[in-house]
């Protein structure tokens, strides 16, 4: 493994160890925020596979999240053990994405974006029309863990943290693999990539499935964490949009950009917007505009430019 690969793994290990120590220094409220950050880090990192590497603007993140949440909730309501339900949710999301990919990955650009956006709405309708199976509009309850509040806060923090580390580890492997390289070629010029023998269809589907599997597990963990889910909650379109903004903020197509973007955006939310509740959504829109105008390659690109110097040719 070359030095850049080693650096990534070491960075991940250091961050993991530091974060694992968080419960020793943080209140339960702080742990909740940290859990949310880990959850969004997973979603941002996952979106990066299809949006950052392959260049396909997917809005399906919310669909995969809700799909995972409901799969896990339904399984647990049929007496499946919690961890098994989480794993099954991830697997189900993976297969769902493979199936969906066959339907929409031949579309490009805006058409693909719109098609992916519809998926969450479709799933929401399906949930609403099968109330006996999914609880419909009334939602689904999930079994409580019979441990103290503090222990629960710590448990779910570690669960999300573990998922975030796993997801980032997968990103390190994928970004530096033949798949990652092929995806970047597809992003730059899909026709040329096909002509040169890159299996565009297979690689795109792989990226799409990768963008679903961890998000599905995140949805499952979330469902167990909050003990109650309903369609507007887990199919919320913001669950698709915020991860995209985080990746754009942190650095599209980089490994540590998405989690960095998650930390920045959620810190911003937590510190600033508490004071500006009414313009919450407008502030998000404003950030998107500023990003597109001034920081199109994200913060990591800015940092890299300062370190390496402008005008360097690779």
């Amino acid at each position: 493994m070359n030095t850049l690969g080693m650096k990534s793994w070491i960075a991940l290990a250091v961050v993991a160890v530091l974060l694992a120590a968080l419960p020793l220094v943080g209140s339960n409220y702080f742990l909740r925020i940290a859990t949310t950050v880990c959850m969004y880090a997973v979603m941002a990192q996952s979106w990066n596979f299809i949006g950052g590497l392959a260049g396909y603007p997917s809005f399906a993140t919310a669909a995969f999240f809700g799909f995972g949440a409901y799969t896990s909730a339904i399984l647990q309501n049929h007496d499946a053990p919690m961890l098994l339900a989480w794993g099954s949710a991830g697997l189900a999301a993976f297969l769902f994405a493979a199936f969906l990919g066959g339907a929409i990955l031949h579309l490009r650009g805006h058409y693909f974006a719109i098609a992916s956006l519809i998926i969450a709405e479709m799933l929401r309708e399906i949930v609403n029309t099968l109330p006996d199976f999914t609880g419909g509009g009334k939602g689904l309850n999930l079994p409580f863990l019979r441990i103290s509040v503090t222990a629960q806060a710590q448990f779910f923090f570690y669960a999300m943290l573990a998922l975030a580390i796993l997801c980032t580890g997968a990103a390190i492997v994928i970004h530096r693999s033949k798949l990652g390289f092929g995806l970047r070629c597809i992003q730059q010029n899909e026709d040329a990539a096909s002509i040169l023998g890159v299996n565009a269809y297979g690689y795109k589907t792989a990226a799409f499935c990768l963008s679903a599997v961890f998000v599905g597990v995140a949805g499952a963990i979330y469902a167990s964490w909050v003990n109650y889910i309903d369609p507007p909650d887990v199919f919320d379109v913001l669950l698709a949009i915020k991860p995209m903004v985080m990746v754009l903020l942190g650095g599209l197509g980089t490994i540590f950009g998405p989690p960095l973007g998650a930390v920045i955006l959620l810190s911003f939310e937590e510190l600033v917007w508490r004071s500006f509740l009414t313009v919450h959504a407008a502030a998000l829109g404003f950030i998107i505009v500023v990003l597109v105008l001034f920081l199109p390659n994200g913060i990591l690109a800015l940092v890299r430019e300062r370190l390496v110097g402008r005008g360097t040719v690779t």
Partner: protein, 241 residues
């Protein structure tokens, strides 16, 4: 000239996009080591035919036979392994990758590292300007340099037949001369070439045989010399009454 089965034989090919049929009854042959050109105006179906031959577009009727083997249901990777390389219209380089990486992408399916390095040196020798600019982003090259890079990328796959779509588009005559000379070199080394061109004079000068394609059908075929002196061709494509 060709010995045994031709490198590429297309028989009564039909293709299109969805409900729109673009090609009717195309029959074309390229022998091993031949330089054949396909001339026709815009929208005649030349690029569509190229896409069929490289496996990007599925044909609806007829067949494509390479070295005597049918290429039914073949993917672009299958065509590449059969030795057919498509240098697409508009270059289609990876603009954010360096020239060197673009060239290496041509060898994407190969794993013989030493021979790939040899081939890379050969491409640099053929196009010194690419060697000079090897670390630059391909998007920063001029039109002629990009065409050289696209051609070089094609050569990196060690093809036995190169399909070139619109070599001369947007290029200055001097650059075109250089590229034509290199193309002759490539052909002399035993690589067959199927050149698709709007620049009819250039194409007929380079190729030994030619096909004329008009509105999705092959309307004329023969030696370039005889087509060049054909009054109908001269009037339709070269503006000489």
């Amino acid at each position: 000239m060709s010995v045994g089965a031709p490198k590429l034989a297309i028989e009564r090919l039909q293709a299109g996009y969805g409900d729109v049929q673009v090609l009717w009854d195309i029959t074309i042959e390229v022998g091993t080591g031949e330089l054949v050109c396909l001339i026709g105006s815009n929208g005649a179906g030349k690029t569509t035919l190229m896409r069929c031959i490289s496996g990007l577009l599925a044909i609806t009727a007829g067949q494509i036979v390479v070295d005597g083997r049918s290429m039914a249901q073949a993917t672009p990777a299958d065509f590449l392994r059969a030795g057919i390389v498509h240098v697409p219209e508009g270059r289609r380089l990876f603009s954010a990758m360096s020239v060197r990486d673009n060239l290496l992408m041509g060898a994407y399916l190969r794993d013989d590292k030493e021979r790939i390095a040899e081939d890379l040196d050969r491409v640099y020798a053929m196009f010194p300007i690419l060697a000079e600019r090897r670390r630059q982003d391909a998007g920063t090259l001029s039109g002629g340099e990009q065409q050289m890079c696209a051609l070089g990328r094609g050569l990196m796959a060690r093809p036995s037949l190169v399909l070139i779509d619109e070599l001369s588009l947007g290029l200055a005559p001097r650059v075109m001369e250089l590229l034509s000379e290199r193309l002759r070199e490539i052909n002399r080394s035993g690589v067959a070439v199927l050149l698709v061109e709007q620049d009819v004079m250039n194409a007929l000068e380079l190729a030994t045989r030619a096909y004329v394609i008009d509105q999705g059908r092959v309307t004329k075929a023969g030696l370039s010399a005889s087509l060049a002196s054909d009054p109908a061709i001269r009037e339709a494509y070269m503006g000489i009454a």
